[in-house]
């Protein structure tokens, strides 16, 4: 087991090098001069441009740029972005916000998705099941930005239940509305996945055995059906956590959340290689750890899976 975890963590090295190289190259290959873009219409003196170029190693060939980036990274020196802000400080600001948002969204989709999915599955073909299925289809079909604006308008502006935009002071309460919007689509998928899984397990032989043992219905559902039904759902949720941490550009944009998605979008637009790559590097780590956790959870849920 320990060996398995170590092996999985060692896999981070090639994944990390591969993704940063790829991202660095793509930012490098973007057309246009980032320094020129920085000044927009104004024409700065050549000496300023040259100074900036050498500060960000833009005067070096690609491999040297990438090598210097790695060297800085391993000495925990992420440098500054084009506005002369330290990148490390930016990361420390944006990641907690997105983490809060992601966790809220994850809890919403997991709790409600599983709850509705189980009830729909147990009442297969009944009114509740059909209603939930249609509703979830609607949620999947409507694009996030439509949902986002509608929720912002209804709950934020008209009803005033939550602040329509988050702004600088992001806390758990402020993030609820964007978290609901963000979690809604995956909620629909979790629901459908749980429902299918419950229906499949409901007719399993061991469930009949459990009933024949004299167990009460709630106990059969909770101890026997639910645990077996959770196996595919957990896989999906884990993969989803990685996605949520990557930041939701649309949702963060609508609700003005100062998180990863917003920052990444800006940085890509400005061609800020160092910022983009720094954010992506953290994301790679998050993905790898999230996947590892899913696999460990998987083995815990299903003893037939054993890692060594």
């Amino acid at each position: 087991m320990i060996r398995y975890i170590i092996r999985r963590l060692l896999q981070v090295i090639p994944v990390f090098l591969g993704t940063t190289l790829l991202v660095y190259y793509m930012v490098f290959a973007l057309p246009g001069d980032p320094i020129a873009a920085l000044f927009g219409e104004r024409q700065p003196p050549q000496s300023v441009i040259d100074a900036l170029r050498s500060q960000y190693n833009l005067d070096q060939p690609f491999w040297v740029q990438y090598g210097l980036f790695l060297k800085n990274l391993f000495t925990f020196n992420l440098g500054v972005d084009f506005t002369q802000q330290p990148i490390a400080a930016t990361l420390a600001r944006i990641f907690p916000v997105t983490a809060m948002l992601a966790i809220e969204a994850l809890i919403i989709q997991a709790v409600f998705g599983v709850l509705f999915g189980v009830f729909a599955g147990l009442r297969k073909g009944k009114l509740f099941d059909s209603t939930v299925l249609v509703a979830s289809l609607v949620v999947i079909a409507v694009p996030t930005f439509v949902l986002g604006f509608v929720f912002q308008l209804i709950f934020g502006v008209q009803l005033g239940w939550a602040k329509p935009t988050v702004g600088a002071n992001a806390d758990w309460g402020n993030l609820i509305l964007p978290a609901v919007v963000l979690g809604l689509v995956s909620f629909a998928y979790v629901l459908r996945l749980t429902r299918t899984s419950v229906i499949e397990n409901m007719n399993a032989d061991y469930v009949r055995t459990a009933t024949a043992k004299g167990l009460s219905r709630p106990r059969v559902v909770l101890a026997h059906i639910l645990r077996n039904s959770m196996i595919p759902v957990v896989t999906y949720l884990g993969a989803n956590l990685g996605g949520l941490m990557g930041g939701a550009i649309v949702t963060e944009g609508i609700f003005n959340v100062p998180g990863v998605g917003n920052k990444l979008f800006q940085a890509v637009q400005r061609g800020e290689g160092p910022t983009v790559v720094a954010i992506v590097s953290v994301l790679v780590l998050v993905f790898v750890v999230a996947n590892l956790l899913v696999d460990l959870l998987y083995a815990w849920l299903d003893p037939r899976i054993r890692y060594e």
Partner: protein, 611 residues
Amino acid sequence: MTDNSGAIPLETESDKTAPGTPVLEVRDLSVDFGVEKKWVPAAIGLNYEVRAGEVLAIVGESGSGKSASSMALLGLLPSNSRVRGSVKLSGKELIGPDATRIREVRGKDVAVIFQEPMTALNPVYTVGAQIVETLRLHNEISPDEAKKRALHMLDLVELPDPEKAFKSYPHQLSGGQRQRAMIAQSLSCDPKLLIADEPTTALDVTVQAEILDLMRHLRNKLDSAIILITHDMGVVADLADRIAVMRKGVIVETGTAQQIFSNPQHEYTQALLAAVPHLGQGADSGDVDVTAALAAATHTELESVDPDELARRERENQEALKAAAEEAAKPKGEPVLELTDVAIEYPKQGRVPAFRAVEGANLVIHPGEVLGLVGESGSGKTTIGRAAVGLLPVAAGTMRVVGQDISAAKRNGKQLHKLRRDIGMVFQDPSSSLNPRLPIGESIGEPMFLAGVAKGAELQNRIEKLLDQVELPRGYRNRYPHELSGGQKQRVGIARALSLQPKLMVADEPTSALDVSVQAKVLELFQNLQRELGFACLFVTHDLAVVDVLADRICVMQRGRIVEQGTRDQILRNPQEPYTQRLLAAVPLPDPEKQRERRELRAQLMAAGIE
């Protein structure tokens, strides 16, 4: 329906229920399933009773309602069902408005053993946890006390290491061990009635024999009433005191085991008994007295048979063996399949190392000969079948198929591609081996079309001829597989395998998914076709009785090795290897008298320490 009041008395030392008073009384029990807003009957007006210490076997083929009616006793049917009538357990009504709470009865007074030990236990909990769950549900005991009792139960069902079994997850146990664990769980609360739904169907014969022994011991020890639901007449003969024969939802005949087997009244019972393949009565060359053969080969004396009588039977057996040996010595022509020291491996996949499933196999099949390859699960019999078609690589030795050495052939290479035209294959599961989206005519014609043998009108002609050969109406060609019954589907499978007039047919358990009466018809068809067309056949099966019907020669496999091979008569009349003897002794005979002899013989073999 015959009167059951004359049931044979049993020597029981019951103090729970006086012998003679029924534990379970079923009156006018009817079960219907709602299908598309109509009630479709699954069981109609059943009447029976079971006494303490008695085994009632409910026998029937699939769709007879035997399982549905028994699940109805405990309310275990899906919600689209309707149950009417009266079921009284020690006087308490279980059905209808006056019913006691069924949940208190389940697991405590009435326990169930299900067919599939693979799936009947929850895969995510240990065996121990599941038994403890049952125990603590019905008894107010501490976890420690429950554990102690669970271990006691696991010991009672003769699991070799109860402590280890307690901590094991179901997938860590073998099929037989799982079924023992299932029985331990069912018996943990001393039920008055045990419903065993096909308890040994999914198991190998030797394991089946052990489980049947176990159930017999427990019946005597615990004095529960048992309802045994099965399609296997051999199992019935081994265990049942009384028998109810069901067909299409109705009990057509009931009686003591003796009455049913020796003097069946209803024509369906007679047909059912006639359809059961009877080990030793398969081929035309005469019946084989397997019990006598085994007794002679192992120098065993039986208490239940008079020694002179046994000696006479052994002598007859020897004479028949001699006659058969002369017949077998005739020359036969160039082999169609020849394995010399063959080893077959499942190639390694990622971190899973290669697995050698067959080692040092030698066998020969001559033209027109049927070789029965017998073994239990994991013996490597299917592996040899698959390698013969080139689906698995040969790791060592030489394999010659229809005169060509394919040991070194590339998988999916040209050589195999061509060779496969000379080999037909029939698969185990007729439902999943036919493409559900192709009409069966196209399934049958596809090999001929792909091989470029025929097309257009000529192809249609040939398809019709093949349908005639497997005795299916020509009009069926446009039907889809789901519109056919299991037996009909397997006929299609055979027609497809025959379409290129193969020299070698590989049949992998082609009848094991079918009901006995259907199996009998398919086997007869197969036999006739084989005689008529004269193809050689490698017939892979776990069922010795089926091999006996078809095979000229028999090859017995155990753990990847061929332990014994010879003509049908050599194997059945004079088995030499202990494993073959054990396998033969484990096959239950559909006749209570003969089965009693066989059981004694098996007990002696086991006692003599034959592994």
